[in-house]
Symmetry: C2
Subunit: 641 residues, 2 copies
């Protein structure tokens, strides 16, 4: 089979002729974005052929002659011939390209809400033991002596072993004079021994936290000894080609092998991210002893291969809300196969574990009497309103716009994404800031919000999201009934194409923000409160490290109240998963949160469509509810004149 070498990461893989480069890259564990799901339409899987020849499946139409001449191809549209190839992954989409490549976002969460060192207490613990040497005719086998040594430290608990662990016992007990390290899971009055190593390895102990979103999957590698996040990586969910939102995924699951395909899709994404994180930090997959995964109810069902049909059909009853622990082997997670996978508990068919994890990053339910709001902006928007006495949760379908889906040059918050756009008040010209200060590849959610807010404040778009066709602006292009805004010319963009936002894109963004705002407004109505009565508003979402909440107010995504009350907490589903991974106390808190939460079904609420329709303007049909935005718009426009 021909060899394909990926540079600069230096990974080589054998693939059968006819394999497309996107598939080859995924098999090699090399990250290449493809939000369109390999249809050749998004142009984001651009790679360069350094040596060798390719075949083309869908034509080369999307790429300019200049790019083609330099050897660029779309990975999804080029297939391997029966000869070796060398492929260069452009820096910003390569192996190290995840937005969160080497950091964590714990700083976004208020310090006092994070687990402290004395609360570090992961589900799996490592314990050094000395096991006595075998004695002739004492009637004890190796396993008996190991169990006895564990019980000397832990008391007379039942110790359970899988056959895979028992396979290692004879040799491990004899390798270092009986000194062994056992990894144990405490399960009430039982201990599950999930790994046995010779010598003292207690300082190498790793766990995982993961957020499985409809659009984006993010994974953290955790050092369980020090309770620290070692690294985070994210990638589009491999299920995207099967549908953009949960309902289309549920429908896809009903076709032939659809459910199995969806399950594989997300597991491949998770396992690829795990393999990349582990390799980058010198950790072997089987050293990872615990995983906490949070996601919405549909994502959890699909990941487990459970029929999601009844989530969609009345009375909307999923197979499970609180999952038992599963072994990594049964889930299909490529870590220690005997390790336990904990899924954050879900509350209802449309309020999932991402929310019960996310709430841990707020003090919504922790001893506060005044009422706060938690908004998780994702493809499935989820909202919780409450205090220490009640927690009311709902969900709305916002669509994938803020994660880059359905937006011509949209992308997730990764290197090369425009995350901030200044718009010159006088000329309307853009000034883009990209993650990593590279040439722009597209625009992510925070960039879209910033752009729309600035265009609105400057009067370049109206409250319906339509461009001003009268006022001269070099960035606004009009062709017939169509108009669009050029963020970056092809000459400066990393994709060699103009990066543009059209009116259709704006409409998609407005629909997303309207779905979220109107759900919040309806929730407030339910409890007879005004937004201004809220003590705090927590905003979560995969916007990376940056989200300008003042601009989110301008477009009417979040209410127009005292800016001091807002806090952006990043990917709170991922952060909450981390907390649960390092602390059993937090797992218990999460469990209680899930039990306390009441699910409010928006689809049955009579006022929802009115609220939604009213929110389909920038900032809102009811300008009185956005007084500071209206004032700023007027001030800006007057300033520009």
């Amino acid at each position: 089979m021909p060899k394909v070498e990926f540079q600069p990461v230096g990974v080589t893989i054998d693939v059968p002729p006819g394999t497309d480069l996107l598939t080859a890259a995924r098999r090699a564990g090399v990250a290449v974005d493809s939000p369109c799901g390999g249809k050749g339409t998004c142009g984001q899987c651009l790679v360069r052929v350094a040596s060798g020849q390719m075949n083309f499946v869908g034509g080369r139409g999307l790429l300019s002659e200049a790019l083609l001449a330099e050897g660029y191809v779309l990975a999804c549209q080029a297939t391997v011939r029966d000869e070796p190839l060398t492929i260069e992954i452009p820096q910003q989409v390569g192996y190290e390209g995840g937005k969160f490549a080497d950091g964590d976002e714990t700083f976004l969460v208020r310090h006092e809400l994070l687990p402290r060192e004395w609360q570090y207490d992961p589900l799996a613990v490592k314990w050094r033991l000395t096991v006595s040497a075998p004695q002739p005719e004492d009637g004890l086998g190796d396993l008996d002596r190991l169990t006895r040594a564990i019980q000397q430290e832990w008391g007379p608990m039942r110790v359970l072993y899988s056959l895979a662990v028992i396979h290692t016992v004879a040799n491990t007990l004899r390798a270092a004079d009986g000194v062994v390290t056992v990894t144990l899971i405490r399960d009430g009055e039982q201990l599950h021994a999930i790994r046995l190593e010779s010598g003292d390895t207690t300082m190498r102990h790793f766990g995982l936290a993961a957020d499985v979103g409809t659009t984006t999957v993010a994974v953290q590698l955790i050092d369980l000894v020090r309770g620290r996040v070692l690294a985070t990586r994210s990638e589009y969910n491999g299920q995207i080609p099967c549908g953009l939102d949960v309902i289309s995924r549920i429908n896809y699951a009903a076709r032939g092998d659809g459910l199995a395909e969806l399950r594989c899709g997300v597991l491949e994404t998770l396992n690829r991210l795990i393999a990349q994180l582990a390799a980058a930090h010198g950790v072997a997959a089987h050293e990872i002893s615990n995983a906490v995964i949070s996601g919405n109810t549909t994502m959890m069902h699909l990941m487990l291969g459970l029929n999601p049909e009844h989530i969609r059909l009345a009375p909307y009853t999923p197979t499970l809300l609180e999952a038992p622990y599963f072994s990594a082997a049964e889930v299909g997670l490529e870590i220690n196969p005997d390790s336990w996978v904990y899924l954050s508990p879900c509350v209802g068919s449309y309020v999932g574990g991402d929310i019960t994890a996310g709430l841990l990053c707020t003090d919504l339910a922790a001893g506060r009497e005044d009422i706060s709001l938690f908004i998780d902006i994702g493809t499935n928007g989820e909202i919780v309103l409450g205090n220490n006495e009640f927690l009311l949760a709902c969900a709305c379908s916002a669509g994938p716009a803020f994660e880059g889906g359905g937006i011509d040059c949209g992308m997730r918050a990764a290197l090369g994404a425009i995350e901030k756009v200044d718009v010159d008040p006088a000329t309307g010209a853009p000034r883009c800031y990209t993650i990593g200060n590279t040439r722009p590849r597209g625009i992510c959610g925070s960039g879209m919000i910033d752009l729309l807010a600035n265009l609105l404040l400057g009067g370049w778009i109206d409250s319906a999201g339509k461009f001003d066709r009268q006022r001269p602006c070099p960035a606004i292009r009009v062709e017939g009934k169509k108009a669009w805004y050029v963020l970056a010319e092809a000459s400066v963009s990393a994709t060699d194409k103009d990066l543009v936002i059209g009116e259709q894109d704006i409409e998609n963004i407005v629909r997303a923000k309207a779905a979220i705002y109107s759900a919040c407004a309806l929730m407030m109505e339910q409890i007879g409160m005004e937004f201004s009565d809220l003590a705090a508003v927590y905003i979560a979402g995969g916007f990376g490290r940056f989200l300008d909440l003042a601009k989110a107010t301008v477009i009417g995504l979040v209410p127009d109240i005292d800016p001091e009350k807002f806090q952006y907490i990043g990917n709170s589903s991922l952060m909450g998963s981390y907390m649960v991974a390092v602390s059993q106390d937090y797992r218990q808190r999460q469990y209680e949160l899930a039990r306390r939460m009441t699910y409010f079904d928006l689809s049955n609420a009579p006022g929802y469509m009115d609220h939604y329709t009213a929110a389909l303007f920038l900032p809102h049909t009811d300008e009185a509810s956005f007084p500071s935005v209206v004032a700023a718009m007027q001030a800006d426009r007057e300033g520009a004149r």
Copy 2:
């Protein structure tokens, strides 16, 4: 790939050209004996080619021209060409050919020792439930409602599910208006739900009992509702090509993939027998919810894939003696993958679960003060001496002679085996009785014992096992230094060869009986007792339904005491496994037996070699210890004169 059809069973299989017929038959689940392990030397895998052409690997030398002309070939020596074939399996080795094909041996065990109906209490139980329909917004998923329904019947116990079972929940709960049958395993304060079916299936509930011997594997299918054995099947252990006794298997395990090969060998045998039993009784493999397996310590390690090396090396410490429950999936048993496999507890490296199971078929330890002896005659002979106060166990290597190994025309107790041979006192001519009254294919252990005893009583062999070369006898043939006894001429044998017993064969049988007798004698010496002081002697072994203990005394296999004290109890390891499979009370008894037993290491005992050497005569060097045998020999010989 060419198709091979096996008749009269009517099974067709596709195999690659070059596959030998023995392998093809095994893959098709068609039983063909091959005690020589496929070396082309035993001649027992004889089949007839009804249509098609074959290639031959080892020549056709063993078969007569007459047989070849009729289309007979040795399955192990003939390989498939690239064309279809039809193969006839001779009746006696075909699909229905197991000795125990449709019966059980419970009648061999004293009635009062068997579990009574009120003791039927298998580990896995089936329970019919009605699960309430899903309610809108009651916050309960399908699994919650199922758990609640189980807890309503069983109390507030924790209910555990594997992901595989959870996969079936959504559809099963909705298939029959919430009526479901759950299969539960009780594990202290926990319940493991291992299967969920729609409707009421409580009357279909099956289990397995198995004896894994070094030479022979026997499996029983049990109806757990009625506590009845449905059928038993046995076959040679697929590990035989890797060595004939436990020590050579342990050595084989140390080579390259030896351990994996041994594990596969025995699992293939077990799974083939299970598949045949299940198919013959219309039971699906996943309807089998529980298995009890008994075998010696080495067999259990090899079946589990555990390194057996330290069983052979001082201080002889196995990985495990009392195994925890394993799931069928981790063991590799092809029944319900979530079902639990119970392994009978072992006592030491050389006294295994076959003995703790076997003792359940005796009253050795059950409230008896007088001392009894239990002898399990197998490739690994195991002996227990004791009463309600002590149990002393030892093991000796007898070799596979009594199961047909190392004997020219030896075979296990299956259809066509000579199980009894009368020898005409005047002429020395044999009269053979075969299992199933078919043409003879070979001789099994009980036949060998009968033959040797009759030859000795008639004076046709001397106490050293040598043939009388003076006295004219048409059945005894002498050629140079060699002499042999013709049991059946080629014209009447099913193999178209003379079936003969030579002096080398007799020597192998004498060694086997000497190993067992001398171990018994040494045990008696240890406690300072005579054989005549024993209250009872239980003899177990795979001799099928018949063993003439008077003849066993004649050859000195068992002591010469009051014949009333003997009881032949058949394959007690298998029978004890059955008892444990149907009754948790018996499982507890077995556990206590294992704990009470003391292992006595023969290999360290100073007198063993002397005892063994003295026993290498028929009946024994010390004629005084076999007074009735000596008297009978004299009487018979005088009668013959």
